[in-house]
């Protein structure tokens, strides 16, 4: 009996010890993985000043044929893999020694990527190249990014800054704390614009609206003809979108956004912001935004209503501009002959229709990358090379290359040609930055929803938003 007990005890002790050891070993193993690379790797990685080989900067095919096979892991949120993968396939054809493992997180919106990517970096995921959103993301992850200046000089040339638009270079410098260039931006995007269904406007017999009164005429025409569509699809369920609409209206009158965002005295309870909220409210009061129809729509639903012909207009950022392309519409089974872009017309007299715009689609190299030179080649291709042209030609952004141009043959209709020019003009001449304080955007947006649904006055809404900001939970 005693022997039996002893055997059981010994066996259980062994099982327990084995389990604990394996658990600890698993934790230890993970720790090792996260703390990679080894000291020798680190010294190699931490020296971006090591000039790339002549073959890397000269002809890609020459470098490719002579180099060791390399796999780069590339995380981003935009463009979607349907756009990006064919471009990467071409890159890999030019650089046969480089294989790019692409992960596009949350193709519908960036919020999932905003959480997964920084967490991935902090837990030592094996990533070489990361997409960096314009706004707060650069400062958030700067400690994980490799300074690119020397790599850029060696790969693109000492004059790499001259190959980009001056405004994008200026904005890039605001995105990190130090002087080093930690990421480079492929293009710029802005918000909010109005996409219109030209087929519906033709059916109504109205022209593309240029003024706020024109817009009211279109809405009245929809009502008169009793069409079973909504005038404007906007995701009123999402506070951030309404916040961006309000700031777009504010930008029609002043540069308040920049003064608020860069802590230069801009306030929500200022007359300029109250005027913007009054204009925002007018959109609902005049039936441009139907309160009943839009306040339960989210992003995807509002877009699907527009692309299925159930809305005459769709409000979103310029990142949806691919819809002006006939090829994109065919590929995505959007049965609309023509889609165009206009700015939200100035609501108050004397305003100028405009948007907020900012650099976006940044690309950085992770410090722990074992292949910084190859990663730089990928960034060069996607930012200064054919990759950038390909994305630009699908209107995912407006390229930051100073000599960027799209192939005119892809702008198949006068609406597309005019809309592309509108897009470029709006982004190039944006009076304020779309350098968002994303967490606060949701808070401000919730107050705008309250203003519309609970009939709170613009003055009290402005005060409430300022009071929320003054709490200091989400500072600029």
């Amino acid at each position: 009996m005693a022997l039996k007990k002893k055997v059981i005890r010994t066996a259980s002790l062994s099982i327990a010890m084995a389990s604990i050891m394996s658990l600890l070993a698993a934790c230890g193993g993970n720790n090792n993985a996260s703390s990679s690379p080894s000291s020798s790797d680190l010294s190699a990685n931490a020296s971006p000043s090591v000039a790339p080989s002549a073959s890397a900067t000269a002809s890609p095919s020459a470098s490719a044929s002579s180099a060791e096979p390399v796999t780069l892991t590339y995380w981003t949120w935009d463009p979607p893999s349907s756009v990006l993968q064919p471009i990467l396939d071409k890159f890999q054809a030019d650089y046969p020694n480089i294989t790019v493992k692409l992960s596009v997180w949350d193709q519908q919106n960036s919020s999932g990527y905003q959480q997964k990517m920084p967490l991935g970096l902090s837990t030592g995921e094996d990533i070489d190249v990361v997409g960096v959103q314009g706004g707060g993301m650069g400062k958030q992850i700067e400690q994980y990014l490799l300074p690119l200046d020397d790599l850029l000089a060696a790969s693109v040339g000492d004059d790499w800054q001259n190959k980009l638009t001056p405004n994008s270079v200026k904005q890039l410098k605001t995105q990190v704390d130090g002087d080093a260039t930690l990421f480079i931006s492929q293009g710029s995007v802005g918000s909010m614009v109005m996409y219109y269904n030209k087929d519906i406007l033709d059916q109504l017999g109205v022209a593309v609206p240029k003024t706020y009164d024109d817009l009211k005429v279109v809405v009245q025409a929809i009502k008169d003809k009793k069409m079973n569509i909504i005038p404007v699809a906007v995701n009123g369920k999402d506070g951030w979108t309404l916040d961006e609409v309000a700031w777009t209206i504010a930008g029609q009158q002043s540069d308040l956004y920049n003064r608020w965002r860069y802590n230069q005295g801009g306030k929500f309870d200022s007359p300029e912001y109250i005027q913007a909220l009054t204009g925002f409210k007018k959109l609902f009061d005049d039936g441009i935004f139907s309160k009943k129809d839009v306040m339960d729509l989210d992003y995807n639903r509002s877009k699907s209503l527009f692309t299925s012909g159930k809305a005459a207009f769709f409000i979103q950022g310029t990142w949806e501009a691919a819809m002006i392309s006939d090829a994109y519409r065919k590929e995505n089974k959007i049965n609309i002959n023509d889609i165009g872009i206009i700015p939200i017309p100035s609501i108050e007299a004397g305003g100028k229709a405009s948007i907020r715009a900012f650099i976006d689609n940044g690309l950085g190299i992770v410090k722990t990358s074992k292949h910084p030179r190859e990663a730089m080649e990928l960034i060069k291709y996607l930012t200064f090379g054919a990759g950038d042209d390909a994305i630009n030609s699908q209107f995912r952004f407006v390229s930051n290359k100073s000599d960027a141009a799209v192939d005119p043959s892809i702008l198949t209709t006068p609406t597309a040609q005019e809309s592309y020019q509108t897009l470029v003009d709006l982004i190039s001449n944006a009076p304020t930055d779309r350098n968002n304080n994303s967490p606060f955007s949701n808070v401000a947006g919730d107050n705008l929803i309250k203003m519309i649904l609970n009939k709170v006055s613009p003055e009290n809404t402005a005060k409430a938003i300022q009071a929320e900001f003054d709490k200091g939970k989400m500072p600029n």
Partner: protein, 316 residues
């Protein structure tokens, strides 16, 4: 002299040596659960430590540039009326779910227990939604309840009942009601508890009631309902505690809106957390406070349960 206790053989053994023997016997048990305990230590205790540790910091999701925040995050949470409102919503939505469970869930279960033709089919029909993912149910209902092109309003309009077509999810009051009413669709679990407890009811009690001339209504509410008190308790406790874990049903229907009217604590945390660069220290502080609230509720329930058990024992 060492204290000693008698054993069956008539001999006495010292208490100390008995305790040692008991400890030796328990060692085996402890060793068997050691692997599980070590996993618990890593994944639960470390998580708790991490949560509490970060709640005193200002940091974002990259955890790269953490700075000491002292108790500032807790102060900010405690000063935020939305936090209290979200906890209140948790309790109100739980109360709604409990009410639906112990009324509709109870009635349907009792009727289905009458074993009429097709009762098994209906039992399965009521139970199936409880087996479906909450995210799926919420997504489907958010589409059905959309104002302009939603199936429910389209149906009402087709019947000429346009005046009944409402903004089910975008009117703050109606959205609140819609979230509660969806609980009706999820009565499968309470029905399961009631069905199991019904099998323990002594049928002679019901027979006696019938012989005494009690009607169905009286049997149901004055006899069966009190007899199923164990199921009621299980439903109340599990619903209340699960309300702090609830997320997708409400998030996918309303996103916590409109205007934060249906925001529960998990959505409050998520909405704060999802913005790029959000202070994770604040989210950790709010989570810690929620954990304390949930523990307090559990403790009160446990005390009430133990007290009730003692009273029943002493009455017996």
């Amino acid at each position: 002299m060492n204290p000693s206790i008698p054993v069956d053989s008539g001999k006495t053994i010292p208490i100390k040596s008995r305790q040692a023997r008991k400890w030796k016997e328990n060692v085996t048990a402890y060793l068997f659960i050691a692997p599980l305990l070590s996993i618990f230590a890593v994944f639960i205790l470390y998580s708790l430590y991490f949560l509490i540790h970060t709640s005193f910091q200002n940091t974002d999701i990259s955890f790269g540039k953490a700075t000491d925040a002292g108790t500032n995050n807790y102060r900010l949470v405690l000063e935020d009326s939305h936090f209290y409102f979200s906890v209140l919503n948790n309790l109100i939505f739980s109360a709604g779910n409990i009410f639906i469970s112990i009324t509709i869930g109870f009635i349907v279960t009792v009727f289905l227990s009458l074993k009429f033709r097709g009762s098994r089919f209906f039992h399965a029909l009521f139970f199936i939604p409880a087996m479906l993912p909450g995210a799926l149910i919420a997504t489907v209902f958010s589409m059905i309840l959309e104002y302009r092109f939603g199936a429910w309003n389209e149906f009402l309009r087709a019947l000429g009942l346009d005046f009944l077509a409402k903004q089910w999810l975008s009117d703050p009051h109606l959205a609140y009601m819609s979230v509660i009413v969806i609980g009706v669709y999820l009565i499968g679990f309470p029905m399961m508890y009631y069905s199991a407890d019904l099998t323990t009811v002594n049928t002679s009690v019901l027979e006696a009631a019938v012989l005494d001339g009690a009607g169905l209504n009286r049997i149901m509410w004055n006899i069966v309902f009190p007899l199923l008190k164990n199921a009621h308790k299980t439903i109340i406790i599990s619903t209340l505690l699960s309300s702090f874990r609830e997320f997708e049903r409400i998030y996918l229907m309303t996103g916590g809106g409109p205007a934060q009217s249906t925001e529960i604590s998990s959505i409050y945390l998520f909405n704060y957390f999802r913005g790029a660069g959000a202070n994770i220290g604040y989210v950790s502080a709010a989570s810690t406070l929620l954990l304390i609230i949930a523990l307090a509720i559990s403790f009160i329930q446990l005390r009430m349960y133990v007290k009730g058990k003692k009273e029943r024992k002493s009455a017996a």
